[in-house]
Symmetry: C2
Subunit: 477 residues, 2 copies
């Protein structure tokens, strides 16, 4: 038997007994703990770091919500659960979990209200001009590819990035507020406490956990269940090599120290199935400021491969997973402005050929790509990739430049999207699809809504939304 | 606890006791059984169908071997384990299992001899002109992308497809011979016997299996171990939707009835980790006869995306996984010949524009692609995708045609590549990388050598090679 699983002795001595034990105090853990204690369950949240926050506190704080939230309405945007559902079903992969998705979209308005009721502030103003993480304290931003081809024609676009009211990065404030709400709730929090094993009966029921703190071990019985909210595995090199090796090429791993897959491995050891372990979110923020969307993103063949005006997460996924990170953004002197996150210019030239030569692209290919693009761009059209006309203009003012967007030079920000298989109520499922009694999970320890195609805010979104459901399920048990 | 796992009673009544129980009689199961019984182990092989063969018997029979096998030498080809290793490491994914790969390449010559010693006949002649499955009874064929860019420059090419001596499909003969070898060995075979559960001790050791036959259940103790060789999961719609949804778009699933993931699920229920469950092999045999490699494969953007002279498995993977199966092969009147596996012509035209219009491609894009290609093809060059010069010639003789290679119309043949995580000795590993005592696996129940990039013969190759090792490990235990 795995060292992560222990069989209880008979009789078993427990150091502590609770109803619900939440492992990990990021956004999902806070949501689970708040909801469990709101149900009247004796709730203990343990965090292995010295304080709550986790990766959520290192994030931009964007929460993907919609369907007509109070914030969307205050900003004058019309949205519906159905339009949100259509967008997410079209943009998150080849076969997203339709049941979870529908529940998420239909519950999104109420979930936003719940976040507000926990004290998370959102300024009812809209910021235009970036994908996620506005530099201002505005509350609503575009955080996906809603306005870009092909999604703009599949669902009525609306901005759905809900950002806590603070300049720049909203994650710290979000977690400060959620942790404060936890501290005001009956739920208790223990920090510097690492869950090292689960107690599981011979019938497969998860009974509690072994917890280590400063070298001392305690055994905690959780009568309702253990809720795993320990984050993903982007810091676990071995798991990354096995499941998502291209992630190693990314210069930035979006992660707190805890994202080493510990909770996923606990769950697997208890018999859980995993889903989409190969899925990663890859952000490549090369089109900020947005004027740079007028550039042309080309691959090592000198071809375009995506509409440059789409969400930077889609750019990153296409660039890394389909082009192995060998891509450049071609600009001319007119549209060039200093990119927010990129330093290096890979090549400059007074004509397309010298640019192509300096990039060592196949002779004539980049030239053909640019000539074809320019020909149609004169008419404001991009017949191949359907970039919106506001970002379509011919590149004809030398010098031309190639902004280096390769994995060697550009910021690629990665985190994992796969994990434990859960149902809508947060039950962790075994390979046959049956719940493992007493085991729950949420957040990036689980396979989330987005599998192959991300929008900013889906992790904080599904983590808190399904975290609440997991906490409630454990409390009710 | 999962219904696939049972705890033995104390005392436990077993209906039969053996040393090694092999579940599934395809190529991997035959190899495991032969090797286990050769070690002197009392070996029982169970097959749920009414006879041995499995998916192996439905395959082309190609076995990917090299490094200088007797057959390669007889056909005048020079190869070495190192060149084979370089090719496979470069062509099978972003992070293949280097230890397994090295062992496979270094043991390949001896493994070929072993296959011969089991009575599998190979005619020492070379067939040029197809990838895998020659229509003749020749023994050696190209079965991968060794001669194509970029691999031809990374490793010295050699044909490594070893095919049993029979016209057309070699799989039936291969399995006839291996099953005959089994029948001559001390190993016993039971057909119409389905393994429905594993017996596992509370310490995690796999003790045996529950087996059902015509409604009657028997419990079989396997003192050395149970070897799972039950194939992949391409016939399990639910698993396919969860792990590899695009496979549903393929018109042909390469599978015997047993490929429903039953053995993978048994292993998972016993605590096994899985790897690469999202990986599939997709063959798109559109360049047979080989003259059609002179065509241009284009996507819905009217762009090329791969060198058309590469192995049809790579074409299929690129077409389905990166282009969502929306691709066409453009030919002119000179190079057109009737494709072996495709019936439909999607469009014809006297010039590129009318062809593009009929295909509803973006205006001007296919035209630009073809003009650029033709310009360089006049010099025998393909600067962008590096197709070999023998397949590079300008398309300029109308009428032009587009052979329909979309998933709607063309043959896409798919099977799964992911499965149980095993080590080089066939031990099934838990999520911590520790062997599950008494549990072994091989073949497409396991994650094999190829993850993201297939060559024909790798499944029969790694299945028999690591199947033998699994059988030996179980026998020795």
């Amino acid at each position: 038997m795995s060292s992560l699983i222990r069989e209880p002795s008979n009789p078993m001595h427990w150091d502590e007994e609770v109803d619900v034990l939440v492992v990990g105090l990021g956004a999902a853990g806070a949501a689970a703990g708040l909801e469990a204690s709101a149900q009247g369950a004796n709730t203990l949240i343990l965090e292995r770091a010295s304080g709550g926050g986790g990766t959520s506190a290192m994030s931009g704080g964007v929460i993907y919500l919609g369907g007509g939230t109070a914030l969307q309405k205050a900003c004058g945007f019309d949205d519906s659960p159905e339009e949100m559902f259509k967008y997410l079903m079209a943009s998150t992969g080849d076969a997203p979990d339709e049941t979870k998705m529908r529940m998420y979209c239909e519950g999104s308005v109420a979930h936003f209200d719940w976040l507000c009721s926990q004290g998370v502030p959102f300024k009812p103003t809209y910021y235009h001009g970036t994908s996620g993480e506005p530099p201002t304290d505005d509350g609503l931003v575009w955080s996906g590819a809603e306005q870009a081809h092909p999604f703009k024609d599949l669902a009525r676009p609306a901005p759905r990035g809900h950002v806590p009211q603070v300049e720049h990065q909203g994650g710290p404030l979000l977690m400060q507020k959620l942790c404060h709400a936890v501290s005001q709730s009956p739920a208790r929090v223990g920090t510097d406490q690492r869950c090292i094993a689960l107690y599981q009966s011979s019938e497969g029921e998860v009974l509690g956990a072994a917890v280590e703190s400063f070298g001392k071990e305690r055994r905690i019985r959780a009568h309702g269940g253990v809720v795993v909210t320990t984050g993903g595995f982007v810091l676990n090199d071995k798991m990354l090599s096995q499941h998502a090796p291209l992630a190693h090429q990314c210069s930035m791993r979006v992660a707190a120290n805890g994202d080493d897959g510990s909770g996923i491995r606990l769950g697997m050891a208890a018999g859980a199935a995993t889903l989409n372990m190969n899925s990663i979110s890859v952000s490549l923020p090369i089109t900020q400021p947005w004027g740079l969307k007028r550039g042309l993103l080309v691959n090592a063949q000198g071809q375009r491969f995506i509409n440059e005006d789409t969400y930077y997460g889609r750019l990153g996924e296409a660039a890394l997973l389909k082009q192995k990170g060998q891509v450049w953004l071609i600009v001319d002197n007119e549209i060039f402005e200093k990119p927010e996150y990129i330093e290096e210019i890979a090549a400059t030239g007074d004509d397309f050929s010298s640019l192509a030569q300096e990039l060592r692209l196949p002779p004539g290919s980049l030239e053909a790509t640019l000539e074809y693009y320019n020909e149609h761009a004169e008419k404001g059209l991009d017949p191949v990739f359907h970039k919106r006309s506001e970002y379509v203009s011919p590149l004809k003012n030398p010098p031309f430049g190639a902004i280096d967007c390769t994995t060697d030079k550009a910021l690629y920000a990665v985190f994992t999207l796969g994990g434990l298989h859960t149902d809508t109520e947060g039950h962790v499922l075994d390979p046959e699809g049956e719940p493992i009694p007493g085991l729950f999970a949420a957040g990036r320890s689980t396979s989330g809504l987005a599998i192959d195609g991300y929008s900013s805010g889906l992790s904080l979104g599904d983590g808190t939304f399904f975290g609440r459901r997991a906490g409630r399920s454990a409390a009710k048990r």
